[in-house]
């Protein structure tokens, strides 16, 4: 792993820089640390930062940009006659990568020498045989252009790697040299180090922004190309979801959105009353001991992974609802249904609603309660007429957050709700959601040039926008309410 060696070399250089710079600074002060501007180790750390930071930044940027750059150059070099449309081009590029990687493994394992691998160009049958021996199977017919592209892919990779090694080492040595030369008793090493550390801290904090940007970018481009293939009006207002393998798919959002909202509605119908009453009981009625036991127990529900709820829906709740409700009442024979997913999701959301509401009820000032009790209201009247109205904005915020959770939940609906997209009112019927279809369209064999795959990005973007809207609204409401009493 040459990259690993490069990183290790830079680290070793940095370690050497620490001691050399520290030594040099001490020597310039005649061995008396008191005469230095900063503590001796700061001179060392200054050298470490100057050696590592530029080189590592280069390596990181290179690692991210290199594959795309090479891909772009090689893909551009493939003639139109071989790859007519973008789809065929991406398939050919996959072949190119496989051949290139195959040849590299062949060289690594010693089956071919580097020269042999480079000159193998002419004979395709030979390449096929060589790669097959290593367990790499090539697609149907490999054209000479593809082989040529694979060779230039390898060549670019090797050149790039050499360039990176040289550049990174130069940067590291340069940083090392500058730091060591600057290290004398007047140099403000501490200020320099602290500036460096602060930059690192700012960079770490900016990752949150980068993530959001990454999320948006990763979906915007693919969504854009999806709307280039499929009309956006049909996506947003289409009443039918029926992807086909050979084109002509109906990719309407509405049935999925209906399933999502229906399931979320049932989940909230179950979790909001239960969670709210549990919060009221624990905050206002329960004794210290009951609270100490019951509150953590309910909160355990929040720590259970959603796959566990999914399995619970699949093997326990689904069959139970089917055998005792749906079949006797004639509602259907499906174990996976809106009801199954909704109920289990409701259980998952109980702690979510209850702990948020508990916090909010706890934040209502005691004086309001005392006033109400003082004029003769019972405890429940106080709660209903005074505490809840005061806490209402916060509770609405909690419910909105829970709704956003429900809409974005995946595993419970994948395992509990079924996969058939339909606009139906029967809660014991299998329905599907946006998240289920994202999983469905993006797992298994995916072809990133077909509308059937790209629709997942449009679905994801829709989901992201809806949940983001709910979150922002909820946070806004909660924050405004908090300011009232603090």
């Amino acid at each position: 792993m040459p990259l690993l060696w490069l990183v290790l070399t830079v680290l070793a250089l940095a370690a050497a820089g620490f001691f050399v710079a520290r030594q040099r600074a001490l020597a310039s002060a005649g061995g008396e640390a008191r005469k230095l501007h900063s503590l001796p180790s700061y001179y060392g750390f200054n050298a470490v930062i100057l050696t590592i930071a530029p080189a590592m930044a280069l390596i990181a940027i290179w690692a991210m940009a290199e594959p795309t750059l090479i891909e772009w150059r090689v893909s551009g070099a493939i003639p139109e006659s071989v790859a007519a449309d973008p789809g065929a081009r991406s398939l050919i590029m996959a072949d190119v990568r496989r051949i290139a990687e195959g040849l590299n493994t062949a060289v690594e394992q010693g089956a071919l020498t580097a020269e042999q691998a480079r000159d193998i160009g002419g004979n395709i049958a030979e390449v096929r045989a060589q790669l097959a021996e290593l367990g790499i199977l090539l697609g149907s017919d490999v054209q000479p252009e593809v082989l040529e592209a694979a060779q230039s892919y390898r060549a670019l990779g090797t050149t790039g790697n050499t360039a990176l090694t040289v550049l990174a080492l130069l940067l590291a040595i340069g940083g090392f040299a500058i730091a060591v030369m600057k290290s004398d008793s007047d140099f403000r090493a501490r200020n320099s180090v602290e500036r460096g550390v602060l930059t690192i801290l700012v960079a770490a904090a900016s990752i949150a922004i980068l993530t959001t940007v990454g999320i948006v970018l990763s979906m915007v481009f693919e969504t854009w190309s999806f709307f280039g293939m499929y009309s956006w009006t049909e996506f947003f207002f289409g009443l039918e979801w029926a992807p086909q393998f050979h084109g002509g798919s109906e990719l309407g959002l509405l049935p999925l959105l209906w399933g999502t909202l229906y399931i979320s509605f049932i989940a909230l119908l179950f979790s909001v009353p239960v969670g709210l009453f549990a919060a009221i009981y624990l905050a206002e009625y329960a004794g210290r001991k009951t609270r100490a036991i019951a509150k953590p127990m309910i909160e355990i529900l929040a720590g259970i992974p959603t796959i566990v709820y999914g399995l619970f829906a699949l093997i326990t709740v689904g069959p139970l609802l089917r055998d005792y409700f749906a079949e006797p009442l004639g509602f259907g024979t499906s174990a996976s249904s809106v009801m199954t997913a909704g109920l289990v999701m409701g259980i998952m959301l109980i702690p979510f609603v209850s702990s948020l509401s508990d916090d909010i009820i706890g934040a209502v000032p005691q004086s309001l309660r005392d006033g109400s009790l003082g004029v003769g209201a019972t405890k429940s009247e106080t709660i209903k007429k005074v505490v809840l109205p005061a806490a209402l904005p916060g509770i609405v915020g909690a419910v909105l957050l829970a709704a956003s959770r429900a809409i974005g939940e995946t595993m419970i609906v994948v395992l509990g709700a079924g996969a058939s997209a339909q606009l139906d009112l029967n809660p014991f019927e299998a329905m599907t959601t946006v998240t289920v279809k994202i999983v469905g369209q993006l797992t298994g064999d995916t072809d990133f040039s077909s509308a059937e795959t790209l629709v997942a990005f449009a679905l994801g973007f829709t989901l992201f926008v809806i949940t983001l809207g709910l979150n922002v609204l909820a946070l806004y409401i909660v924050r405004r309410y908090r300011e009232q009493y603090e």
Binding site: S218, G303, P305, I307, L311, T378, S380, G460, V472
Partner: protein, 450 residues
């Protein structure tokens, strides 16, 4: 005293007192009781749901930790296993599992003959299906590892078939077997007879924890080894990336950030990221890490990166709370004796906030360990039988993950996989309980109240 009535109430006053409840008061009291009852019911519903969930999973999954084994002597004839006769493993490699399968069936037939077990309607073909298909492969591996065993008779412990295993655990009954094309009633009778004769044994199933996944036909051989290793690798990646980045970001936001636009944007971003659906992070991973950066599919490094981004908000929120809990007097004292702002934070505030940070990190890790949806999108559903290599190369090898393995098993037809999936959930929950316990203990031990 003539205007006072017998009960002491003045004339003309209605007959109510605090001591004698009126109808209205009774109604209000009843409403109060009802309201309190609703609350109690809600709490009970929550707790019952938890208990029901856990018992249902435990009830179905515990049996996955036991496995029925058939202990029979198996002859290893030299003429079929080592036709060249020189005990060279490289040459014995050519003998496939197809040659081993009859040995197992023959061994079973020998035992039946030796014990004089007679079962009406038992076909010779039933013997083949009685023992798992995996047994032949295990036997072959054993022989290749110990070539000198060829020609001797081995006291072998072989996996019983999935349905036989189910019968011993009560999942399969005579009635279901009659309807099932994969098992016959005669085979179950044979199982009874063999158990009586002491050849069938149920033992703790270590293979469930260490072995890799197995194909659709062999639920009895499926294990969690690759999944546990994959999850472990991802947790390493998350810990190595999320802890330093999260702590650095929190220190900046809590201690250094000026009140300006940028800080505001970062703060809003973090609180929003905490509520973005996890599947969206999966799309991010697929588009950026796999399609754009060209990292391999199903690799723990990609899973780790995605989970890092998901866990960061949790760690940042916990770390900021921990930093905020350190009293300002500590900072003031450090600054007062001449430390720089940076020194006061790194030498004094950060060490004091460490317990809180560690607790938050462990809770974030526990959350990441149970996350499934984003991993489905980055190809971790693939069927992986090879253990990944040791790090760092292993981070780029295909692997599975615990929760994804559960999902994978629920998608298979054989009902024995439901038992496996529930068992895998138990393993997952054990890890989660351990992590949370460590977090609680850390908090109790190290937390300081100021």
């Amino acid at each position: 005293m003539t205007d006072a009535q017998a009960d002491g109430r003045p004339e003309g006053r209605p007959a109510n007192s605090i001591l004698t409840p009126t109808r209205r008061m009774k109604r209000r009291k009843a409403a109060e009781k009802r309201f309190k009852l609703y609350g109690m019911i809600a709490v009970t519903v929550g707790i019952l749901a938890l208990v029901f969930l856990l018992t249902s999973i435990l009830g179905r999954g515990l049996s996955a930790f036991e496995q029925t084994m058939v202990e029979i002597p198996v002859e290893l004839p030299a003429e079929t296993l080592d036709p060249e006769g020189n005990r060279d493993p490289a040459e014995m490699q050519r003998v496939t599992t197809f040659s081993y399968a009859p040995l197992v069936a023959d061994a079973l037939a020998d035992v039946i003959a030796a014990e004089a077990i007679e079962i009406e309607g038992l076909e010779p073909s039933d013997l083949g299906g009685f023992i798992s298909q995996e047994a032949a492969a295990q036997l072959r591996n054993f022989v290749l590892a110990n070539p000198e065993a060829v020609g001797t008779t081995l006291e072998a412990e072989l996996l019983a078939g999935g349905r036989i295993d189910g019968y011993m655990k009560g999942r399969v009954t005579m009635e279901t077997a009659a309807l099932d094309s994969n098992v016959s009633v005669e085979q179950l009778r044979l199982a009874d007879a063999l158990e009586e004769a002491g050849y069938l044994k149920t033992s703790f199933n270590w293979d469930f924890i260490t072995a890799p996944d197995a194909s659709d036909q062999r639920p009895e051989a499926a294990g969690l080894g690759v999944a546990i290793l994959g999850s472990f690798y991802m947790m390493i990646v998350v810990l190595v990336l999320a802890l330093p980045i999260g702590v650095a970001a929190s220190i900046y936001l809590e201690e250094f950030a000026p009140k300006n636009r940028l800080t505001d944007i970062i703060e809003v971003n973090i609180s929003n990221l905490a509520a973005v659906p996890s599947i969206v992070f999966g799309i991010l991973g697929l588009a950026i890490f796999i399609n754009f950066m060209g990292l391999p599919q199903s690799a723990p490094i990609v899973g780790g990166l995605v989970l890092t981004l998901m866990t960061l908000p949790t760690i940042i929120i916990a770390t900021r709370a921990a930093l905020k809990a350190v009293p300002p007097s500590i900072r003031d004292a450090a600054l007062g004796v001449g430390a720089s702002k940076m020194q006061s934070v790194f030498h004094h505030v950060l060490p004091l906030a460490m317990p809180g940070i560690l607790t938050g990190t462990i809770i974030g890790l526990a959350q990441a360990l149970g996350e499934t949806a984003p991993l489905l999108l980055i190809g971790m559903v693939a069927f992986v039988r090879e253990y990944p290599d040791a790090p760092p190369e292993g981070f780029f090898d295909p692997a599975s993950a615990l929760p994804v393995q559960v999902y994978n098993w629920t998608q298979r037809a054989d009902p024995a996989f439901v038992e496996r999936a529930s068992g895998a959930i138990i393993v997952l929950l054990v890890f989660l309980v351990l992590m949370n316990t460590v977090a609680v203990i850390l908090r109790r031990r190290l937390e300081r109240r100021w």
